[in-house]
């Protein structure tokens, strides 16, 4: 089975000589939920933005459903959706208008757009509030609206940067459940990121541990816990970082 995403030694330098992410390689299969986990500043968003064709990679490549981010970024954009972290929406639009606008951009024709809007309306669960201005929405409501927007086109790969950060437990649970259901039902693949390592293990099939721009270890959460003989992913992270201290250049450690 071909992988939906294949990341090969992807690197980014914002400033010459300083890697925000260095030689990151991983892959995501069909219907798989993959999470990049690591603390703030680890390089999650940088990696994600390169895959979403927003940032140019300094080195390496990533292939989404057969399209390279270097040679065919337009093809990549046809296959993905991206939900930035802490994203907002046009405050003067109503939820319904927002979905209509985004469906117009993602759908190939009007028929398809209608289907997208219906899907998003069902998924977001906002009901009548879709008729209200987004400016009046709570954080949780905006996130649900944006998530439903990100999956309404059933993309091959949905990229969600910190999808649950800043949300209360109930909202975070709902979002996680939505992601899991979509992956199972429609065989959609997800690339998530989170700095909250405890909650992410409930939603992801596999995780990649990233710190200071280096992807240190990739595997299933239970696999990793067993390997390091610890109870949760946070402790896995601690172990992995300690084991890999040698790999991270002394300059970066300082």
């Amino acid at each position: 089975m071909a992988n939906v995403l294949e990341v090969r030694e992807l690197s980014k330098q914002y400033k010459k000589g300083v890697y925000a992410s260095e030689k990151v390689s991983f892959s995501i299969g069909e219907g798989e939920i993959f999470a990049l986990i690591g603390p703030n500043g680890a390089g999650k968003t940088t990696t994600i933005r390169m895959i979403a064709t927003l940032l140019k990679a300094t080195e390496g490549d990533a292939v989404v459903a057969g399209h390279s981010i270097i040679t065919d970024p337009a093809g990549v954009r046809e296959s993905i959706t991206y939900l930035p972290d802490e994203a907002g929406a046009y405050k003067t639009m109503t939820g319904k208008q927002y979905l209509e606008f985004m469906a117009g951009i993602f759908a190939p024709d009007k028929e398809q757009a209608k289907i997208y809007i219906q899907r998003a309306t069902d998924i977001c669960g906002l009901g009548d509030r879709l008729g209200d201005k987004i400016g009046s929405y709570s954080r949780g409501m905006i996130r649900k609206l944006l998530l439903s927007r990100a999956v309404m086109s059933h993309p091959k790969l949905a990229i969600l940067d910190e999808p649950t950060s800043g949300l209360d437990i109930i909202n975070a649970l709902e979002i996680r459940r939505m992601i899991k259901d979509l992956a199972r039902e429609y065989k959609m693949s997800f690339l998530l990121s989170s700095h909250n390592m405890l909650e992410i293990e409930f939603v992801s099939d596999r995780v990649g541990i990233i710190a200071k721009g280096h992807l240190l270890e990739v595997g299933r959460p239970d696999e990793l816990k067993e390997k390091h003989g610890v109870k949760n992913l946070e402790e896995v992270f601690e172990r992995v970082v300690k084991d890999n201290e040698i790999c991270i250049s002394p300059e970066e450690r300082a």
Binding site: Y14, R49, A52, T53, L54, L55, K56, A74, R77, E78, I80, T81, Y82, L83, P84, D85, E86, A87, G88, A89, Y90, K91, M102, I105, F106, L146
Partner: protein, 446 residues
């Protein structure tokens, strides 16, 4: 005590680098403005005791008047004016005004001395002596027309005529009383390549009133549209809706061009709307302002803008708005948060404010080297547009137009480059926080 802490915090928040910089630049701009104005005023007053004069009278009284002027400290420059085509005469002699003593001058003085009276409003008065004064309107700005001109000429000649009259004969007190003012100034104003018998003082008062509004409108439109566009771009960036759009299956160019075309349409609607409204307002006001001035003289001299004039004015206004749009796109993209987007408005505000203020007071063409500094600011040309169009300086108008188009091309290219590369997500600028970054760097080094 607690209040002091609160007050300190509030002051610190208000006195950012941005606000201090704004203050400093404003003060420097005002001081510079004062210096420029001082120089211009000095020149006008210096020229106030120079009189260019043409004596067509062969009698002895005109010579006496000229002598009296010289004695009174005036520097009299005598020239020859042979035709009624004052446009040509002023141009060929490269002068901006001239006093003409008519052929009948001496005989008129003789009439005065003989106590010859005429009826005026049912009363008997001694007919004043005719003196002609021709002046060219060079500028619509305040100091540009502060050429003390006719007032000086009139009072100087009046004084000279009086001294001649009183010196030549002991008139009776009754007779002297009949001389209300010994001189009747017949004024001709030259505008561009047209001339009309009307006082330049009255005309420039009219023109100044009518040309006051365009710069205000231009200034407001520039500030308003730049704020509108910058906020739109900055909000898209801060809310990350731009990232969403640019990762969607649409080309970056179409996202950017949609933004630009929308803003262009809005700018065009503004420019046209204001031009139409302004032309109606002017039509309505012409009657009341003109008052003392004959409105047919105003259109005869071309001081009232034609439809073509409004189109030319609208064109430069539209260009200014497009330049604003391109710069604002760039500045908006540099914003990190709502507060920094406000401080980023500063460069546009100064670029609009300095030529706006200066254009009201001085004629840029008289500024020497400083003129080129002003011309380098693309907005300057729009602030000068009305004056250039009315006074027929089409070279300056079209030069400005071409410059604005070039500047627009440059800024548009920069904006497109910024949006097409990933710099749009990595670049950010914040005047207010530069200081903090510095501090952070220093800490790192330490």
């Amino acid at each position: 005590m607690k209040f002091v802490y609160l007050l300190k915090k509030e002051l610190k928040e208000l006195l950012t680098l941005t606000t201090i910089l704004t203050l400093v630049v404003s003060v420097v701009a005002l001081i510079a403005l004062g210096g420029v104005m001082g120089n211009v005023m000095e020149e006008t007053t210096e020229n106030a005791d120079k009189i260019t004069l043409c004596n067509k009278d062969s009698g002895s009284y005109s010579k006496a008047v000229i002598e009296a002027l010289v004695t009174a400290g005036y520097e009299v420059n005598e020239i020859e004016i042979s035709s009624d085509d004052y446009v040509e005469e002023l141009n060929s002699k490269d002068i901006s005004d001239v006093v003409i003593i008519p052929e009948t001058f001496s005989s008129q003085i003789e009439d005065v001395l003989a106590g010859k009276t005429v009826e005026k409003d049912g009363e008997k008065v001694i007919a004043p002596v005719d003196v002609e004064y021709v002046t060219r309107m060079n500028s619509l700005s305040i100091t540009g027309n502060a050429d003390v001109g006719s007032t000086v000429a009139l009072s100087a000649i009046e004084g000279a005529v009086k001294s001649v009259v009183y010196a030549s004969k002991n008139m009776s007190v009754e007779e002297i009383k009949l001389i209300e003012s010994p001189v009747n100034l017949v004024e001709t104003t030259v505008v561009n390549n047209k001339q009309a018998k009307e006082s330049s003082t009255l005309l420039s008062a009219y023109v100044m009133m009518t040309s006051m509004f365009v710069p205000i409108v231009v200034y407001i439109l520039i500030i308003y549209s730049s704020q509108m566009i910058m906020n739109a771009v900055a909000t898209e960036k801060i809310d990350k809706t731009l990232e969403t759009l640019l990762s969607a299956p649409v080309s970056r160019l179409s996202v950017l061009s949609a933004k630009m075309i929308a803003a262009t349409i809005v700018s065009a609607v503004y420019a046209v709307g204001f031009m139409v409204g302004y032309s109606y307002m002017m039509d309505g006001m012409t009657g009341s302002i003109a008052g003392a001035v004959d409105s047919s003289v105003i259109s005869e001299l071309g001081l009232k803008m034609s439809v073509g004039g409004y189109i030319l004015l609208g064109a430069q206004m539209f260009l200014s708005l497009l330049i604003t749009l391109a710069i604002s796109l760039i500045l908006g993209a540099l914003a990190k948060d709502a507060k920094s987007s406000q401080s980023l408005l500063m460069p546009i505000m100064f670029m609009a404010m300095v030529p706006y203020m200066l254009s009201m007071f001085v004629d840029f063409k008289t500024l020497g080297a400083l003129k080129w500094v002003m011309y380098a600011i693309p907005y300057t040309h729009t602030f000068m547009a009305q004056s250039n169009i009315i006074l027929g300086d089409m070279t300056t108008y079209f030069g400005g137009l071409v410059y604005q188009i070039v500047m627009l091309a440059i800024f548009m290219t920069l904006a497109v480059r910024l949006f097409m590369s990933d710099k749009i997500f990595t670049i950010s600028l914040d005047f207010g926080q530069k200081k903090n970054k510095y501090a952070a760097k220093k800490n790192k080094k330490a």
